[in-house]
């Protein structure tokens, strides 16, 4: 629990399909993600960034290699253990369709706790809800919330169970810039103020600039990283990445 690494991948390979049509989405990725940091994973379309996140989060099984999350080897877990891991150690924020439409905002937030039949830590819940400015929206159904509010509810849900790590897949992909800034600001402050670890996949340099560290992926390989990035720095690195011949280290 005291290691600085919250999640790591070693020699991670993911192949989709077989034979001539096989696609190597991940081609030997080695990465350590640091506890208490907001890490952004970037790369052009098809670079394998979403696949990497799915494998790290135990949503997808790698073809070979190992994934360790919070000291547990995810890549060799049974489906039952994966389910337990997801409900206790991992939080998710997806690009869209984050909320169960039949449940209220509050019920959505406490859903992982309900599933795990755990007590709700009321003080923590209040803190999260207040930080996200959702206090007066708790009784609403998702269809009565704006896109930004829906993503904030999703963030609250990911954080309320105090997971070891939160995985966010293009969390601001569907949001206007104001809402996006709110959500990203919150993810960052959850790291700075609450000590949460967050991993975020994005293709937007501005979003990535909120991170402590940005990893760049291209053609299934890790091709670079930036610490304490700015939007301009990320953009420059990304431009260099796409200009570079494919497959280069």
């Amino acid at each position: 629990m005291t290691t600085p690494v919250i999640a790591s991948a070693h020699e991670l390979v993911k192949v989709y399909g077989a034979g001539a049509t096989a696609v190597r989405a991940l081609d030997g990725v080695d990465v350590d993600l640091v506890r208490g940091e907001l890490t952004a994973i970037m790369g052009p379309s098809g670079s394998g960034k979403s696949t990497l996140m799915h494998c790290l989060a135990g949503l997808d099984r790698p073809t070979s290699g190992t994934v360790v999350v919070d000291g547990q080897t995810v890549s060799s877990m049974s489906e039952r253990k994966l389910t337990a891991l997801r409900r206790t150690r991992i939080g998710f924020v997806f690009q869209a369709y984050n909320l169960v439409p039949t449940l209220t905002a509050l019920e959505n937030i406490t859903l992982p706790l309900d599933i795990a039949r755990r007590e709700v830590d009321q003080a923590h819940l209040d803190l999260v809800v207040e930080t996200l400015g959702l206090t007066d929206r708790l009784g609403h159904k998702p269809s009565e919330l704006s896109g930004g509010q829906q993503q904030r509810v999703a963030c609250a849900r990911a954080l309320v169970a105090r997971p070891a790590v939160v995985f966010a897949d293009e969390p601001t992909g569907n949001l206007d810039s104001t809402s996006a800034a709110e959500v990203l600001g919150f993810l960052r402050s959850s790291v700075d103020d609450l000590g949460q670890s967050v991993v975020m996949v994005t293709h937007d340099p501005t979003s990535a600039s909120y991170a402590h560290r940005v990893l760049f992926l291209a053609d299934g390989r890790l091709v670079g990283e930036l610490r304490d990035p700015t939007a301009e720095g990320v953009l420059a690195a990304l431009t260099g990445l796409t200009a570079r011949p494919t497959g280069a280290p």
Partner: protein, 848 residues
């Protein structure tokens, strides 16, 4: 767009298959019901066609009283014709053979020593004549002496006897030891009737002791048409001086068939009503499936619009796919429906009711079923298709596509209006139950109430499910999830439950009717019968006269009261009349007298009439009626008006009045009430009675409780078929739920993925879907049962006249049904739940 439509079918094969299944289920129900109806009527018309082979028939030309109905195919009663005519007819040029129709009731004792009988089917004997083309000796030989019989093939196998076995028959109350010498094939399934052949002399002595028969069949020489034969017979009949006429075989067959169909009218009407309901239920499942189907594909359709398809093209493509689904489903459904009927025939066969072996495929069934499947599919798809076609193309770009849900207000308003009208009609029927059309008004009212409830059921579902799911709210996370899912789209939940609701309404009504019938029967017996023991003839047979004499001779018997029934013509209309000993009133039966002095009137040679008949015929006390029997005519005064379901016939007279009207062999005594002598040991009397009637084989001794349960058993046996059909509707409703659930699992793929991603276990997911299914099933069952029971509860008021007087609600059975609903819900959820649990989490969360 045709290509898009076809690709659409191919790309969503599972959805396509489920939609086809829905159509097939609905159509199977319709086709099965129609085919069953066809099979029943063709079984009976087959009997006529294969047994009525005469080219011409000679029959009486004047109306007359007689035993009529039960023993003869024609309910029309005519004067009998003498056997002496046979000689005259044989002398006519062109006549090949003359076959007098000598037949009558007979009870065959089977291998196990009891009477051979099956539910409601008659048991009778014919004279064997080798010239009769309908009969064919398939084993052994024809009967040639009084102690020989031949038995029809199906009867033989039901009896357990074999050719060469010795057994007994009971004819005219007399037990005769006989040997089975042959097996006879009739070439038609007899629907359970027991048929025995006697040699002509014995048959004539037993069934035509006065030398008369109802009809004489005449066979023509080759080359002579039926009409020519009739023309040649007419002069011979005219010169004989007997009031008789000759008619063609075709005419008789036509009349017999028509008569049978009239007798079967109740069943036919029932099955038609059932087919209508099945159509409705099937349509429900189909419409439900299509509205979900269109909703799921809204995004794809919006994309088509975005790339330039006109609303009409989108609409056409959906309707075209619906038509493909409809035709394929309908064809499968017809096959399934016929399969169901074959199974049902097997089931009925084990109850002893043989039906025709022909696979009942007729053009009408095929056309109606396929048309229904296709039309309902297209119509069901048309409404959602119209909505989908008008979706703005921009919707394709949005993530969550929500079709604008119309508000439920309109459905609720229509539903409430229908329920109010229906209840009004029911109340009208209840307030004036004796009105001519009370039954019809009640039926229409009941139909309107059911339709209204179905229309308003989404609103009902929302309220009901919110309340019923309350206890599960604390069962996190399963409870709130399941509750949210069933109340999210009340229209869908209501439609899913709709089929079950209709099925359960029928089950509830049937359960109440059955319980009420039995309670009424038992009330009649306990209120009206004050007798110690009851003697009953088996196989609807009579109690032999000698047995009655023997019983009366027992020292412990105070009286054995008989109820002799015959069919009489009153004002030229046939009625049933019962003759009793006037002293039996108050001794073995107790009757409610409306007007006059019942025993006094009987003793004075007057007639007592049931109140309902008095009302129907508009007679009044003291009026004189002319009774025409087969051996006499009498004018009787109405001396009393009674209200007695126990008698069950319109007229009651003294035995002394009945005797001159009918010879003893035309009076049927099926029940004898035995009263113990004062101070006699009633328990011991039972043994004495049993010993006294044992030689007569066919008589059973019962106390009033056994009598009630015997009557109840007869009711039950009739209800078995009803239950089988209702079972079918429930099975189809269950499959409908499976279908809707499976489709809704597909629809919710992403939501399920999300739930799994945040840690919902497979078992929890499966439990959620099962709970949804159970809630839906319980909703459908509860509303259906409430409807069925409430509507059926009105029957005793409206139909008191036909014997439904005591309302009984079988709470136990109803509770069982509700428990069954839970089972139904669990069973229906099995496949969808497994399917949902197996969805890979990643497939579910990643965009399509």
């Amino acid at each position: 767009m045709v290509r898009v439509a076809l690709r659409g079918v191919r790309a969503h094969l599972v959805r396509f298959c489920l939609s086809v299944l829905a159509v097939a289920l609905g159509v199977a129900f319709v086709a099965g019901t129609f085919a069953l109806r066809t099979m029943l009527s063709s079984t009976f018309t087959d009997i006529v066609a294969t047994t009525t082979l005469g080219d011409a028939y000679v029959r009486g030309s004047e109306a007359a009283g007689g035993t009529g109905g039960p023993d003869r195919i024609s309910p029309e009663v005519r004067n009998p014709v003498p056997l002496t005519l046979v000689g005259d007819l044989e002398a006519v040029d062109g006549v090949a053979a003359v076959l007098p129709d000598v037949q009558g009731p007979l009870v065959l004792v089977g291998a196990d020593g009891t009477a051979v009988q099956s539910t409601q089917a008659p048991s009778f004997a014919f004279a064997y004549d080798s010239r009769d083309p309908a009969v064919d000796v398939v084993d052994g030989r024809a009967p040639q002496a009084a102690d020989e019989i031949a038995v029809e093939s199906a009867t033989l196998s039901a009896s357990g006897l074999a050719v060469g076995d010795a057994t007994s028959v009971v004819v005219g109350g007399e037990v005769r030891p006989v040997t089975v010498v042959g097996e006879i094939g009739l070439g038609a399934a007899l629907a359970g009737a027991t048929v025995v052949f006697l040699d002509p002399a014995t048959a004539e002595a037993s069934f035509a002791p006065d030398g008369t028969v109802a009809t004489i069949a005449v066979l023509a020489d080759d080359g002579l048409s039926e009409q020519q034969l009739v023309d040649r017979l007419a002069p011979a009949l005219a010169s004989s001086g007997v009031p008789a006429e000759a008619v063609t075989g075709d005419e008789v067959r036509e009349q017999s068939t028509a008569n049978i169909l009239t007798v079967l009218g109740f069943i036919t009407t029932f099955l038609l009503v059932f087919a209508g309901i099945s159509l409705f239920v099937g349509g429900f499942i189909i419409a439900n499936t299509f509205s979900m189907w269109v909703r799921q594909r809204t995004r794809e359709l919006a994309l088509l619009r975005a790339v330039g398809a006109s609303p009409l093209q989108v609409f056409t493509s959906i309707v075209l796919q619906a038509a493909i689904v409809g035709v394929v489903g309908a064809i499968l459904g017809v096959a399934g429906g016929l399969g169901l009927v074959v199974v049902l025939r097997g089931v009925l066969g084990t109850f002893g009711m043989d039906l025709t072996g022909r696979v009942p495929v007729d053009g009408f069934t095929l056309v109606v079923s396929v048309l229904v499947g296709t039309l309902v599919s297209v119509l069901a798809a048309a409404l959602p298709a119209r909505r989908a076609a008008l979706v703005p193309p921009v919707e394709a770009l949005r993530d969550e596509v929500l079709l604008p849900e119309r508000s439920l207000t309109r459905r609720a308003a229509v539903g409430i209006a229908l329920v109010v009208l229906g209840v009004a009609a029911v109340v009208v029927a209840l307030l004036d139950p004796t009105a001519d059309r009370a039954g019809a008004v009640l039926g229409i009212g009941a139909g309107a109430v059911v339709l209204g409830v179905l229309a308003a059921s989404p609103v009902l579902a929302r309220g009901f499910l919110r309340v019923v799911s309350m206890p599960f709210a604390a069962w996190r996370p399963v409870g709130p999830l399941a509750r949210g899912n069933v109340t999210r789209n009340p229209r869908r939940t209501a439609n899913t439950a709709g089929a079950l609701m209709v099925g359960m309404a029928l089950v509830g009504a049937a359960a109440v009717i059955a319980a009420t019938t039995q309670a009424s029967t038992s009330a009649i017996v306990t209120q009206e019968a004050t007798t110690d023991y009851i003697l009953r003839g088996a196989a609807q047979g009579t109690v032999p006269e000698q047995a009655i004499t023997d019983v009366r001779a027992l020292p412990d018997v105070k009286a054995a009261d008989t109820f002799a029934t015959a069919s009489v013509l009153v004002d030229d209309a046939p009625f049933a009349v019962t003759g009793i000993d006037p002293t039996a009133v108050g001794r073995s039966i107790r009757t409610e007298v409306v007007e006059g002095d019942f025993p006094g009137a009987l003793a004075a040679g007057e007639v007592a009439v049931q109140r309902t008949t008095m009302d129907d015929e508009d007679w009044s006390l003291g009026e004189e009626l002319r009774f025409v029997g087969s051996s006499g005519v009498e004018t009787l005064t109405i001396g009393a008006v009674i209200d007695s379901p126990a008698f069950g016939v319109p007229f009651v007279v003294s035995q002394d009045v009945l005797d001159p009207l009918f010879p003893p062999d035309e009076q049927r005594v099926t029940t004898v009430f035995v009263t113990a002598a004062d101070g006699a040991d009633v328990e011991a009397l039972r043994g004495e009675l049993t010993a006294a009637v044992r030689p007569y084989v066919v008589v059973s001794v019962m106390d009033s409780e056994e009598f009630v349960s015997d009557l109840a058993e007869q009711v039950d046996r009739v209800l078995v078929i009803l239950y089988a059909l209702l079972g079918l509707s429930v099975v189809i409703a269950v499959l409908g739920i499976v279908n809707t659930l499976a489709l809704s699992v597909i629809e919710r793929t992403r939501e399920i993925g999300l739930l799994r991603a945040v840690g919902l276990g497979r078992l929890q997911l499966g439990t959620t879907i099962t709970l949804e299914s159970v809630l839906t099933a319980v909703f459908g069952t509860t509303v259906g049962l409430v409807l069925g029971v409430a509507l059926a509860a009105t029957l005793p008021t409206v139909f008191a006249d036909v014997g439904l007087r005591t309302l009984a609600v079988p709470w136990g059975s109803l509770a069982l049904m509700l428990a069954l609903a839970v089972v139904v819900g669990v069973v229906a959820a099995l496949w969808p739940a497994v399917r949902a649990a197996r969805l890979p989490v990643l497939d579910a969360v990643s965009t399509e």
